[in-house]
């Protein structure tokens, strides 16, 4: 069994008992990356020197003895929209090709305080806009299970890196499904916390009212440990929730007896691949055998979610991305004739097609004369969607369904039709609009490709989500399978 098959707790114990050193773990990671990343393309920036230096320092501390946090010495990857001081952060865009941030994101600070080892920055769809990692301005990412298929997006690099055993865990971000969908496609665990649970300070904003940072791991227990480390109120983020953080690990009791699950009929409809549905139904059977009950429910406004999302997210993005104007950050059009020319050409050249598409859509939706019909209307629809969830959660503890309508599609298959691409997120988007937490866990395979089960919880109900996910995982072995590549 390779190091990469071990749980974080197991690695922690081996380190504590000096069976392993941090440097060994780090070298193993770097070796794996060297062997596989030319094919997979998960990393945009590798910080070998930094990682080795940190590893050496941590080994010295290890020798000195004493208590160590759970993430001590563990090599991790960070999605490249998380700002890292002194380490290039590109958001997979040409615009930030030369950008070296002067500060750390709060989650990065927390990982450093927890003494994890940052191996490097992970590939993604440019500025988090995409569902396949094909929108990276640098290179696409390949699904470790099937190299001609996409890993999903926008946290494609993060999911692929964990799936391929390049790092022990990764952080991604999720605005409409960008952690959960790639986790499903790559056969790993991806958790999007409740909006406000994890600080957004230092996450390059795509859609401010929807973005959340979350862990991507090989199993649910690992996700709980990472969440425990990164969750918590941040005074630097005004949207950060001031709630007490429960013990997520203690929640992993394995006991789901008496829990009530709702399965939305809108999530199991015609657009969902029958093989995916099969996996979900089998998972529900497993949960039933553990003492839970499930019933069909309805989230009636689901059909409006994608439209509302793309209006709201694009509007916020059009404003958030306006700061990339060619004046700063190191990328500027050659010999601009005047200020307007500098703006227009730098942005035309610096942004990829999908980013430009969404900026235009968002600008339009916010403009005078259209604001009421589009942006404001979408906000109202958002309220209705949230109410759908509130109503179901009055009677049910969790909402369960497939994470995606299909398994990972082929690279190039959907990139030329943006609207078809948008529909990949139809099952994940409503969760962001409602601000509730959700996890995707491996629940089977369809034609050799992983299928994800999505478990959605009440606001700040991560403990229930993790408990159910962990209980299911303990009685299956889908999450232990590894792609042939590794």
């Amino acid at each position: 069994m390779s190091l990469f098959d071990l749980r974080l707790t197991d690695l922690h114990n081996k380190l504590a008992h000096k069976e392993l050193s941090v440097s060994e773990l780090t070298e193993a990671s770097l070796k794996r990356i060297a062997e596989t990343d030319e094919t997979i393309g998960a990393f945009l920036t590798l910080d070998e020197d930094g990682a080795r230096k940190t590893a050496k320092m941590l080994d010295e501390q290890l020798a000195a003895g004493g208590e160590r946090g759970l993430l001590f010495g563990l090599p991790a990857g960070l999605k490249d929209n998380l700002v890292t001081e002194g380490l290039r952060t590109t958001c997979a865009s040409k615009f930030l090709e030369n950008y070296i941030p002067i500060y750390d994101a709060t989650v990065v600070e927390k990982l450093r305080a927890a003494q994890a080892v940052t191996i490097g920055k992970l590939n993604m769809d440019e500025f988090a806009m995409g569902s396949s990692n094909e929108n990276s301005a640098y290179k696409p990412v390949r699904n470790p299970w099937e190299l001609s298929h996409v890993p999903g997006g926008s946290s494609g690099g993060s999911a692929a890196a964990v799936s391929a055993g390049q790092v022990y865990f990764a952080l991604g971000s999720d605005t409409g499904g960008s952690i959960r969908q790639p986790a499903a496609y790559c056969g790993v665990v991806g958790l999007k916390p409740t909006y406000g649970l994890v600080s957004r300070f230092g996450l390059v904003a795509f859609a401010s009212s929807l973005d959340q940072i979350g862990p991507i791991t090989k199993n649910v227990e690992d996700a709980a440990y990472v969440l425990q480390t990164i969750a918590g109120h941040d005074p630097k983020d005004s949207t950060s929730a001031n709630v007490e953080i429960p013990d997520y690990i203690a929640a992993l009791t394995g006991d789901v007896s008496g829990m009530r699950f709702g399965v939305p009929k809108e999530y199991m409809g015609a657009g969902v691949d029958p093989k995916v549905k099969e996996c979900v139904l089998a998972a529900l059977k497993t949960l039933e055998s553990l003492g839970a009950v499930w019933e069909e429910v309805s989230l009636p406004h689901t059909e409006y979610a994608v439209a509302a999302y793309y209006l709201l997210a694009s509007s916020e993005a059009s404003s958030n991305l306006a700061r990339f104007d060619g004046v700063r950050y190191g990328v500027r059009a050659e010999k601009p004739a005047n200020l307007m020319d500098l703006y227009l050409r730098s942005r035309s050249e610096g942004f990829g097609a999908e980013v430009k598409r969404r900026i235009m859509l968002g600008t339009y939706a916010l403009s005078s004369g259209y604001y009421d019909a589009y942006y404001l209307k979408a906000q109202k629809v958002r309220t209705l969607i949230k109410r759908d969830f509130d109503q179901v959660f009055e009677k049910y503890d969790l909402i369960i369904g497939p994470t995606t309508p299909t398994p990972a599609f082929k690279i190039g298959e959907r990139i030329s039709d943006p609207l078809t691409m948008y529909l990949n997120d139809i099952l994940t988007i409503p969760v962001n609009l409602a601000g509730v937490p959700a996890i995707s866990i491996p629940c089977g395979f369809a034609d050799g490709l992983p299928v994800g089960l999505q478990i959605i919880g009440k606001p700040f109900g991560e403990t229930d989500v993790l408990r159910a996910a962990h209980a299911y995982e303990s009685h299956t072995d889908h999450h232990t399978r590894r792609p042939a590549l590794v």
Partner: protein, 486 residues
């Protein structure tokens, strides 16, 4: 072209003016980050990733800025809502690092207020449409030769309140009175330095004309670049005539922004190829709405001192001052404080008022200073008046003493001693000098005896000269007359 000196040049048109005033709040730190607010620091020395708008940063609202804004709103008789919200005002300009300004659109901190102004002895109420809180932009400096511009971000994030008046002003004179009253109120509240020459108070004006009796407004122009109250008035006077000319000759006013050119004394169109800005306002998703409860409002209201109008009325009642005198004394809080301080050391309110309105204001005006720039204190003035009352110095000598007090801040007694200005009231000493002068000016004595009253004045002057002005003038007159009559 009409000339400004024509009497009643605009008797066919009614002038309608509205003013937009920006007031810089003198908080310690910026509105959304912890950087210092300071004037005149080296470029880009008071910045951080947040106010620089680096990718991933988030704003956190400054409590003191909110309290100052609420204080100002209450002092201007505005209604302060229970919930207030922030909005993004989106536009591109190099001095705006996020490419949006965090401001307020719906639900500003103050609405529907008013202040009273006095013009030609008549009181008039001017409505205040709204008062809102927002962040300032940076400063651009254009390099000679036009090859580049330099951006200084020190000012970005300084808290401002924007105060928009109803279009209730009907003359440039009223506009100036409004500005003076507004400045005084802000200054009394101690929320800003409100010094236009330092940029802590800025004013843009909107002006239109319409035939008397018409209820709809004519087309307005916006005037910018007026750097003093006097220039606001002059610019409006010019624009009034310009618009009247256009209308008289059958033309139409173009709605546009015009720049006041101080040197040429004209307004110049700033029209460019671009259309009017659509700022695409939408609620800032990075800031939650702010709750202002009655308790908080009451606590802030309690910190508002006696405002100019109330103080003026009190001076008229309590000290028997005229409306004009009371108005001048209360036009600035420092001046009024100085006045009242002086009355702890003297009971002669009239005299104190005269010294302040006379010598002090004349000195300030002549040297282009404000009250904060001179060192005289109320105590100093009061003690000086005591010295005059006791006869230690004459009124004439007091002028010298007062000037020294303004320049050095020393106590009057100290100045008198240092400069040997004690009034000579010793009869014997004066008689000696009277004898000397009489002996030295036989012709004048002869003239006086022959009925020339003027000769007495000359002789008094001579005695005063001999004593370097220090002889008690009344005593000199008396003793000289005695001598001449003998």
């Amino acid at each position: 072209m009409r000339e400004a000196q024509d009497t009643m040049p605009l008797n066919s048109y009614e002038t309608v003016i509205g003013l937009e005033v920006h007031v810089e709040l003198h908080t310690n730190t910026k509105i959304f980050c912890g950087c210092q607010v300071s004037f005149g620091a080296p470029p880009n020395s008071n910045t951080c990733p947040v106010c620089l708008g680096h990718p991933g940063v988030l704003p956190v609202l400054n409590r003191q800025a909110v309290e100052y804004a609420i204080k100002a709103a209450l002092a201007l008789n505005c209604k302060v809502p229970e919930w207030t919200r922030f909005a993004r005002k989106n536009y591109f300009y190099p001095d705006l690092p996020k490419a949006y300004q965090i401001s307020q659109a719906e639900g500003p901190i103050g609405e529907h207020g008013w202040i009273d102004i006095e013009v030609d002895g008549k009181t008039k109420r001017i409505g205040i449409t709204r008062l809102h809180l927002e962040e300032d932009a940076g400063k651009l400096m254009h390099v000679e030769g036009g090859q580049a511009s330099l951006v200084d971000f020190n000012r970005v994030g300084t808290p401002l309140i924007e105060i928009v008046s109803e279009p209730d002003l009907r003359s440039p004179e009223e506009a100036k009175a409004y500005l003076e009253k507004l400045k005084a109120i802000m200054q009394y509240c101690d929320v800003s330095d409100v010094r236009m020459e330092q940029g802590s108070l800025r004013c843009d004006a909107n002006i239109s004309l319409r035939p008397y009796g018409q209820t709809t407004f004519g087309t307005k122009t916006e005037l910018k670049n007026m750097n003093s109250f006097r220039h606001v008035q002059k610019a409006l006077e010019y624009e009034q005539l310009r618009q009247a000319d256009v209308l008289d000759s059958g033309g139409r006013i173009v709605q546009e922004t015009r720049r006041w050119d101080e040197a040429k004394g004209v307004t110049i169109s700033m029209r460019s190829k671009e259309d009017a800005h659509d700022y695409r306002y939408f609620p800032d998703p990075d800031l939650v709405r702010l709750h202002i409860d009655e308790e908080w409002k009451a606590r802030i209201r309690a910190t508002i001192p006696e405002l100019p109008d109330a103080r003026k009325n009190r001076y008229m009642e309590q000290y028997g001052l005229s409306s004009y005198d009371a108005g001048v004394l209360t036009s600035s809080k420092e001046l009024a404080d100085l006045f009242e301080d002086s009355l702890k050391y003297t009971t002669d309110a009239k005299a104190s008022a005269n010294w302040i309105m006379g010598d002090l204001l004349a000195y300030l005006n002549a040297n282009n200073l404000e009250i904060q720039d001179v060192k005289v204190t109320g105590q100093g003035l009061g003690e000086m008046l005591q010295l005059i009352e006791k006869g230690t110095i004459s009124n004439k000598i007091a002028k010298t003493v007062f000037k020294a007090m303004m320049e050095t801040g020393k106590a009057p007694q100290q100045i008198v001693e240092e400069q040997g200005l004690v009034q000579i009231s010793d009869e014997g000493a004066i008689r000696e000098i009277v004898d000397k002068v009489v002996a030295a000016n036989p012709q004048s004595v002869e003239d006086y005896k022959n009925g020339k009253e003027k000769a007495l004045g000359f002789l008094v002057g001579q005695v005063m000269r001999e004593t370097k002005g220090k002889a008690n003038p009344a005593l000199v007159n008396q003793l000289l007359l005695e001598r001449l009559k003998s």
